[in-house]
């Protein structure tokens, strides 16, 4: 060897201008990384503070009886919001049952059958438009379409309003989920002699299911917290609902009603209802994730 490296300084060239630049670049790199981490924490501040506030204010009144008792009349203490919790579950479930099948099927059509067709383009455009529509408009629509026609406020009308709200979210996330399934799977299926129907329902849809469920859960989470569409459609009720065709209580409308009351107990109850709503949404999310991420072998 002509020129043996004897010192680390020779090897790394510590004093060369390149080395100085490298140090300042790595410093810049670290600063930016730090900034990103810092801002990520900052973004979590509103979320965490809301959660803390809801837990702190909602926890004192939280016990089993809130799920079994009816809302207290104005100025009274005790009671719960069992009917509102059931009402929310009923109407979100109803909305999901109405929205998910057509939304997923429409997504299959625009993704698998005729992605570049005029109908697909129209459906995609309308769905995007619908996601931006204020939820109160969904309420007004369901009011006109169901409440006026049937002549009464009802859980069905509330369900329809929530379905209109959920439909575009589910459709668009389902389309993305289907697009996310690699084409190699479709080719494998067609290559083995499968029809399009078999390819979609045996290969593409199962592959997209976890991502579709994420979209569904997003829609559910949003719908569960909506107040405006329900005020127009399901109204509220102090009693247990005995059918789907009568005014029905919901957690969101209860929170809206109670939080504006001048009575301390009702305000506290609104906090507790908020906590229950948050827990309900979280629970459904976690359950869905667990169930559908384990489905693939």
């Amino acid at each position: 060897m002509d020129n043996p490296v004897t010192h680390a300084a020779d090897f790394f060239g510590d004093n060369s201008p390149d080395a100085t630049k490298a140090i300042s670049r790595s410093l810049g790199n670290r600063l930016l990384t730090g900034l990103c981490i810092g801002l990520s924490f900052l973004a979590m501040v509103p979320l965490v503070s809301i959660l803390c506030l809801v837990v702190k204010n909602g926890l004192p009144l939280l016990d089993w009886s809130v799920f079994t008792e009816l809302p207290p009349a104005a100025g009274m203490t005790g009671g719960g919001f069992g009917n509102a919790a059931v009402g929310t579950l009923t109407m979100v479930g109803l909305g999901l049952a109405l929205a998910a099948p057509p939304a997923v099927l429409a997504a299959i059509y625009i993704c698998e059958y005729d992605p570049r067709g005029r109908l697909a383009g129209t459906v995609r455009f309308v769905a995007k438009l619908l996601t931006g529509i204020p939820s109160i408009i969904c309420g007004v629509f369901a009011f006109a379409a169901v409440v006026v026609v049937t002549g009464k406020f009802s859980a069905v009308a509330g369900g329809v309003a929530l379905a209109v709200l959920m439909l575009p979210t589910i459709l668009l996330t389902a389309e993305q989920a289907l697009l996310g399934v690699q084409n190699t799977y479709r080719e494998a299926s067609y290559g083995l002699g499968a029809t399009r129907f078999q390819t979609v329902f045996r290969v593409v849809l199962p592959g997209a299911l976890p991502a579709i469920m994420t979209g569904v859960m997003l829609a559910v989470a949003r719908a569960a917290g909506e107040t405006a569409p329900l005020v127009f459609t399901a109204l509220f009720s102090q009693f247990w609902a005995s059918s789907l065709m009568e005014p029905t209580a919901s957690l969101s409308v209860l929170i809206y009603n109670f939080s504006t009351m001048p009575f301390e107990h009702q305000v506290k109850m609104a906090w507790t209802a908020s906590l229950v709503l948050v827990l309900l949404v979280t629970l459904t999310n976690v359950t869905a994730q667990l169930v559908f991420s384990r489905r693939s072998p």
Binding site: Q182, A188, L192, G193, A194, R202, V203, P206, P297
Partner: protein, 269 residues
């Protein structure tokens, strides 16, 4: 789509030495939109032999391969003229369902693509979609196909595990098993080893040698050594033309075309 049969007698097909031909390509032109990717191809592929397609990227070899089972039908703006005959019958004839054609002409892809299902369900996919329900028939097909793809001994104790847990080479052999479960006559292989390490590649090449006693194999490859090792006949494509076709040892040692010689000696490609 033009499905007219080409006037076969007017065409001078390249000499097909040895075995009887199972695929006859006649005056075949293929277009993606305005872009012509295959130009007047005439080619006879012999039965139960391995025919290699070589040529630089974009020469049309994969497009021709994917025409044999009409996978190109799935692409928007694809059209063709001329004809491809399988055992004397046009693959574009109205009374041959494309799903039936694809059962006869199995395909193995460049990137192994097992479904996110169990090993067992991957193999029987072709049978299930054809409506086979009988458990014994399915079990028999699984063992026969996995043995055929030299995978049985490695997976027989974990048939109900996910196929996605297999190694790259095993996945590709599973895809071969899945294809031969349909009992095809022809196996199309589109660069089946390009994503595999040398050991896994060797195993697939050995397997190709075993499979040709039962199936006609058409193998697209970028690897000229692979073509010389595996194929009995080789077709060299360049810019949409079939430049030369013949016995592999003849084509590689004594090519008649200048372009073939330049390509196989590594002067371009």
């Amino acid at each position: 789509m033009t499905t007219d049969a080409a006037p076969t007698e007017a065409v001078t097909a390249p000499p097909a030495p040895g075995a009887p031909d199972i695929i006859r390509v006649r005056d075949f032109n293929f277009f993606y939109g305005a872009n012509q990717v295959l130009k007047g191809i005439n080619l006879d592929i012999p039965e139960k032999r391995v025919t290699g397609f070589i040529g630089p990227s974009g020469c049309g070899k994969s497009t021709l391969l994917r025409s044999f089972n009409r996978m190109n039908d799935l692409i928007d703006g694809a059209r063709h003229t001329g004809d491809i005959r399988l055992a004397g019958r046009s693959i574009y004839s109205a009374d041959l369902e494309v799903i039936a054609l694809r059962r006869l002409v199995g395909m193995v892809f460049q990137k192994s693509n097992p479904f996110a299902k169990t090993i067992y369900e991957n193999v029987v996919y072709g049978l299930r979609i054809a409506g086979v329900r009988d458990r014994d028939t399915l079990d028999e097909a699984v063992e026969r196909s996995l043995r055929g793809a030299a995978l049985w001994n490695e997976v027989k104790d974990r048939l109900n595990d996910s196929a996605l847990g297999l190694s790259g080479g095993q996945m590709q052999r599973l895809c071969i098993a899945r294809a031969i479960a349909n009992r095809p006559k022809i196996l199309l292989m589109d660069e089946p080893c390009s994503a595999l390490d040398p050991i896994a590649t060797m195993r697939i090449e050995e397997l190709i040698g075993e499979l040709k006693s039962e199936y006609t194999i058409v193998l697209v490859t970028h690897n000229m050594q692979q073509a010389t090792r595996c194929s009995d006949f080789t077709a060299f494509f360049y810019l949409g033309d079939l430049v030369e076709f013949g016995k592999t040892n003849v084509l590689f040692t004594n090519p008649t075309e200048k372009r073939t010689e330049d390509y196989i000696t590594g002067r371009f490609g």
